[in-house]
Amino acid sequence: MNSRGTDKIISIYWFAILFLVAAACVYLVYSFYGKPYDIREIEANFLINKIVDCISDNGILKLETLDSSSFLENCHLTFEVEDFSGWNGDQIYAEIFLCEFDISQGQGPCISKLNLGNQNIKSDCNLNSGGNYPFCLNRSSYFIDAGQKKHSTKIFVGVRKTEKND
């Protein structure tokens, strides 16, 4: 009798463990597959590459592209996005800074040459990057212009799209 009672207790204990394991598996599967793939880092890198390709030609900075009022059209870019969760072409931000550059003194002062897209993304980037916040990326590049003058550019890109990436 005593042995059978112990067996029953072990069975209940065994099922309790099974349920715990199952609950842990379900939680892990949901947390892994329930989360969207976050591709904003790759998007931000592609966007910076595209901007760098557009403002330079074989390492020669094309200063006139930075003064253009139709930068997006000239560089074959569009910040239009799908109709989702109230998005309205406001999910991407890009800013290009042009800086003085000297080999002996390094990078000098920068001026913001172009702001493209939703500027609110930049203030969110000051708080955090990735996750619930926009993914933000900064990259410096070095060029000479047609007159052999040295320049560096700082390109800042922020991609929001949090609802589909986090």
Binding site: L18, A22, C25, V26, V29, Y37, F46
Partner: protein, 131 residues
Amino acid sequence: MQKRGNILTENIIFIILNLVFVVILVLFIFSRMSGEGVLEEKYAKQIALIVDGAKPVMEIHLNMQDAVEKAKSNGIAPENIASISENIVNVKINSRGEGYDYSFFNNVDATIYFDMTSDFTYIIKINGNKK
């Protein structure tokens, strides 16, 4: 003898219940892994990234075997799985719902079509920059 018979029955029921439990758990995990929503999102984002990184006159071949098999089982023709409209990629594997949309920022004239000469391949063609 009676006691022995009871123990055997209890053990068999216990083992069967355990097996049922494990099978249900494994089926659940596999159904989530190859879920239609996951595949739609994966391919929509993959195609959007391919277009973002591509340059005019490139032609990219993408194997979408798992999506094509799933779509066929849901009654969707392979040529209707992926489409590009303006700068938005749509992938639809389930006959219910609108599929999954994702936008790309590269302002190019891109087309996507199912390669009829293969069983599972889609071709993404970057025809040129948009005017």
